[in-house]
Chain length 339, copies 2
């Protein structure tokens, strides 16, 4: 399959990261459910487009006209936040046929559990059939400052150039919150959960195509189609830094991942080879990932300069020693300056 042009990729993903209209399934007329919290967060962070609550019978939710299905909404919808029970998701998609571009499915109870595997397969079959792309299920949403799309529980700022794709929702929030402490500015953070439909490879292609995304980071536990991700990653070589935090690097980490997103045990030698062959950068843990973001954000890459040598400026002696050690471990030579 040949890769689509950057312009085509950008226009396909625009409704996801900067939707003009948003449908919200899983809001209640009387309770503060995740859908209500999402509506509140959209308003708080200045979302400019239309918001359409989807509810089987409520005429109004949080002061907005509600509709029984997306098909009843007066215009086609770019993005739906879907936080209804797993069993109701397929029905939601069927009713939104050809009227919705992206559905982000928060609901869990799919492929991450044994009894949900068949339901997830049905979700994917339905999505293809009705022409809707699905992000998730089992995720927590998207952070996109330019689209005023908030993560529930996260603050929003003016945004920057760091794009993140995470198979863990909780870590998406951690990356946002801890990144902010270090001054990391994000272009987008996509929580993608089980990635039953849209997978890491498509997000990678998008972030490579997006001129405002300068650095790309992943938290991954498993890959449905490793070959496609590898191809997308190889295609990235030298264009933008791609940093990968792989969850389940040890046997017991893999056991934990298996119960989290249903990841199968991966061969870590394979991952090491992928990293080596594509020029991606491995991150050891969350701090390491975020520090990579901070470092790349603070520095401009100058590919013309031969790697392997550096000059160290600094004022503290001990700091210079520790930095020299760290460069030494990376095989970068700090030569003494000539007098």
């Amino acid at each position: 399959m040949s890769r689509a042009s950057d312009d085509l990729i950008l226009s396909r993903f625009e409704p996801l990261f900067a939707p003009r209209s948003v449908a919200v399934a899983g809001a209640s007329a009387s309770l503060a459910k995740p859908g209500n919290r999402f509506i509140e967060a959209l308003r708080k962070h200045g979302f400019k487009g239309e918001i359409y609550p989807i509810h089987p019978h409520a005429p109004e939710i949080d002061g907005l006209t509600a509709y029984p299905t997306v098909a009843d909404v007066p215009e086609p919808v770019d993005y739906a936040f879907v936080a209804v029970g797993a069993q109701a998701v397929v029905k939601f998609l069927r009713a939104a046929r050809n009227r919705l571009k992206f559905a982000q499915v928060m609901s869990s109870g799919f492929g991450e559990t044994t009894h949900g595997i068949e339901l997830e397969a049905e979700l994917v079959r339905t999505a293809r059939e009705v022409g809707i792309r699905v992000v998730g299920p089992n995720c927590i949403g998207l952070y996109s400052p330019r689209g005023k799309l908030p993560l529930l529980g996260g603050a929003m700022d003016a945004g920057g150039g760091i794009g993140v794709v995470s198979q863990s929702g909780g870590l998406s929030l951690d990356i946002l919150g801890r990144g902010r402490v270090l001054g990391v500015k994000f272009r987008a953070i996509a929580s993608i959960g089980n990635c039953a439909d849209v997978g890491p490879n498509e997000f990678l292609d998008y972030m490579l195509a997006d001129p405002e995304t300068k650095v790309i980071g992943f938290y991954l536990e498993k890959l449905r189609d490793g070959r496609m991700f590898f191809e997308a990653l190889r295609n990235s070589q030298g264009r933008k830094p791609v940093i990968i935090l792989k969850g389940g690097q040890t046997q017991q980490g893999q056991r934990a991942a298996a119960s989290h997103t249903g990841a199968l045990a991966n061969d870590n030698r394979l991952w090491a080879a992928v990293i080596r062959q594509t020029g991606a950068i491995p991150a050891l843990d969350l701090n390491d990932l975020i520090h990579h973001f901070a470092a790349f954000q603070a520095s401009s890459l100058v590919p013309e300069v031969g790697a392997g040598r550096a000059i160290l400026f600094g004022n503290g002696g001990g700091t210079g020693v520790i930095a020299s050690d760290q460069f030494g471990r990376c095989g970068i030579d700090i030569a003494p300056l000539n007098n």
Copy 2:
């Protein structure tokens, strides 16, 4: 040489960490020199004892009566902050003969430079002769909340249980500042520079003896008497966690250390053996050191429980996976719980 009793060690070091009186050499009647900044910091942080500026002819400095030498001060002095030119330090000590317990010598120009090696030897000979213990030279002072002793440029809080000894002054401040961000509370931070006289082994003995010091950390570049430090460290085994950040772990780090504190290249296999034989904990870099402090501060060690197994509680799936990986790397087994 048999080790002194804990009580004797504590009483010997009390004048250093909680001095009743302080002499300050290197303050000016007209300029804001380091001595003046130290006096200002002592007052700001509520130092309760007497402060005696030492100056060849000024009668008064910063509103305090100044004295030509420590011998002229009306009472013996516990601690002197010495920030005069290297050539003047020996003269200062001679004049303070038997009237001063500890002199912390900020001045550089001693053993860390080729031309200062002989001067440092003279400093040590003099200190022994006149009965004064010297901390430094080439350091930045002490942080001791209970003694209201500040580090220049550092804030002060109520203190806690982390004791630190650093051969780098700048890193002492970094440890204080970055530790505070993570909520680390310090019992004391001793910047010891070239440690010409009082060395890391004596500080280790003191911090082991001090019941309020719960965790001990070192930043070390070189050891004058490695055998004594090793003995002190072996003596610590199991009593308190001792974390060591060794600067100059790589060849080029050693080059940097050589020009910082005059450290000779150390054999890192020797360090690895010391760590293994004493149960000390190696830290890779400054973050690692401070995170060890935060972890030990937050947890109580229960030595009765066999190591090697742990139970992980948490709410985020991705966090659990990353934590499982980290435990896996440390050889700690996270067994699945029985139903």
